[in-house]
């Protein structure tokens, strides 16, 4: 740096200059303005953080409730009906029971779930496998809600070893796999009890009982209507339904019914 530059630096770096007297009021006003501008930003930051916390909370709640619901559904679905009855009304051992039934249930309130139904009659090795699938179609406002197929894999054998009285085993399992269901100790409930507790199976022959069940059905299930396919005879439908398949509406009532049923038995 040159000599004169040093002098310039020395003189100018310590130099002072007059400033307008009203400058402070301008600066003060500017700072106030800046504060006012900052306030809504802070408010928004706080609001948005609160909102995000709320959203996360609600999301978690929804997730938890959905998770629980799906667990409940799984639980309902795994309530299997084991009928030890050999379907003596319509079938004999070795005879094919394969029938696909479609029931349209016009339901304005709830949908139906047909639980996995497994009929196992075989106390000995199976000779033939009978598959019986029943499709229940539920519709509400022209929309099909739930269609659940109940598939029955039946190993029919040795029908003589089975009591004439139909008995149904209810098995609750957290695992939907049927192989896990087999062999689990189950509750035994009589057919009458099923008919009482599941008045959907109201197409029983006895008129008095039918009326009774129908009345109960109407009371409990109000708008459920069952339309049977014309091509099928009553016995074709009733027999497997009556003994092998549990129709479980997908609402709490039926779930609680099942639980009640089990508790009652216990």
């Amino acid at each position: 740096m040159k000599e004169y530059e040093k002098i310039i630096k020395q003189r100018l770096s310590s130099a002072e200059h007059a400033y307008p007297t009203d400058l402070w009021s301008k600066i003060s006003a500017d700072m106030d303005q800046q504060k006012d501008r900052k306030k809504p930003i802070f408010a928004w930051v706080i609001l948005s953080s609160l909102l995000s916390i709320c959203v996360i909370g609600v999301g978690l709640l929804l997730y938890t409730s959905t998770h629980n619901t799906s667990n409940n559904k799984d639980r309902i679905n795994t309530v299997a009906v084991h009928a030890e009855a050999p379907l003596s009304d319509s079938s004999t051992g070795g005879e094919s029971l394969s029938s696909s039934l479609v029931l349209d249930i016009v339901n304005s309130v709830s949908s139906f779930v047909v639980s996995e139904a497994t009929t196992s009659t075989g106390k000995t090795d199976s000779e033939s496998s009978i598959s019986n699938s029943i499709v229940v179609k539920s519709s509400s406002s022209n929309q099909s809600k739930n269609v659940i197929a109940a598939t029955r894999n039946q190993n029919t054998q040795n029908s003589n070893s089975i009591d004439n009285k139909a008995s149904v085993n209810y098995t609750r399992s957290t695992n939907a796999s049927q192989s896990h269901l087999d062999g689990i100790p189950v509750l035994v409930i009589t057919e009458d009890e099923i008919l009482e507790d599941f008045p959907m199976l109201s197409w029983i022959e006895d008129k008095g009982q039918k009326n009774q069940v129908e009345a109960r059905r109407r009371k409990s299930y109000r708008t459920h209507t069952v339309r049977l396919p014309k091509s099928r005879t009553k016995s074709d439908i009733i027999t497997p339904l009556k003994k092998d398949v549990l129709l479980v509406p997908a609402n709490k009532n039926i779930e609680s019914n099942i639980i009640e049923l089990i508790l009652k038995e216990q």
Partner: protein
């Protein structure tokens, strides 16, 4: 020029009070440094109006960013950097394209200290101010603020070599102008 008042508390105490949003303390700090910063702003600005704008913007920025000052370095130096940045930013917003420097022949520098001594600070500032914008900036930053060419290059977003060449030209012009002013005075 507003006279400096005797301050009862130290600058650091004043800064602490400013941080707690004490408006009186802020005013005190402003009054303490405004004259120096005004002089600085005038060196980088075209006129006093522009310098006032820089001063206003600078102090608002300083008060709102005071928490960034660690308290370790020179507070005045920290403030000066902010003011220089604002002044240079404001300069880049405006164009000075029509300024073409007319260089006078290089003169002997031995007489320069005598000439400078005879001039007041305002006159020296005026001489610097009369230079083209680029020269003025580089001269101010290098000679008065003590920035290196690298720092100047980063600050003005120009190359180091450009900064050097600008300084050489600024020096020539400065000497020429000082000599002219001396001649006029005589």
């Amino acid at each position: 020029m507003s006279p400096l008042k005797p301050y009862s508390i130290s600058v650091l105490e004043l800064i602490e009070a400013c941080l707690s949003d004490d408006r009186t303390a802020q005013k005190e700090l402003f009054e303490l440094y405004a004259p120096t910063m005004m002089a600085l702003a005038l060196r980088y600005c075209r006129d006093s109006h522009e310098a006032e704008d820089v001063l206003q913007e600078g102090f608002v920025k300083i008060f709102s960013n005071l928490y960034q000052y660690s308290g370790k370095g020179n507070f005045e130096g920290w403030m000066k950097k902010i003011f220089i940045n604002i002044a240079l930013k404001n300069k880049t917003k405006k164009s000075y394209t029509n300024e073409i420097p007319g260089l006078d022949p290089y003169m002997e520098t031995s007489v320069m200290p005598t000439i400078i001594d005879s001039l007041s600070e305002d006159e020296i500032t005026q001489v610097i101010d009369s230079m083209p914008e680029g020269y003025k900036r580089v001269f101010n930053l290098y000679v008065i603020e003590g920035y290196s060419h690298k720092e100047i290059g980063e600050l003005l977003k120009i190359g180091e070599s450009t900064s050097r060449s600008q300084l050489v030209k600024a020096r020539k012009m400065m000497q020429s102008k000082l000599l002219n002013s001396q001649k006029l005075a005589v």
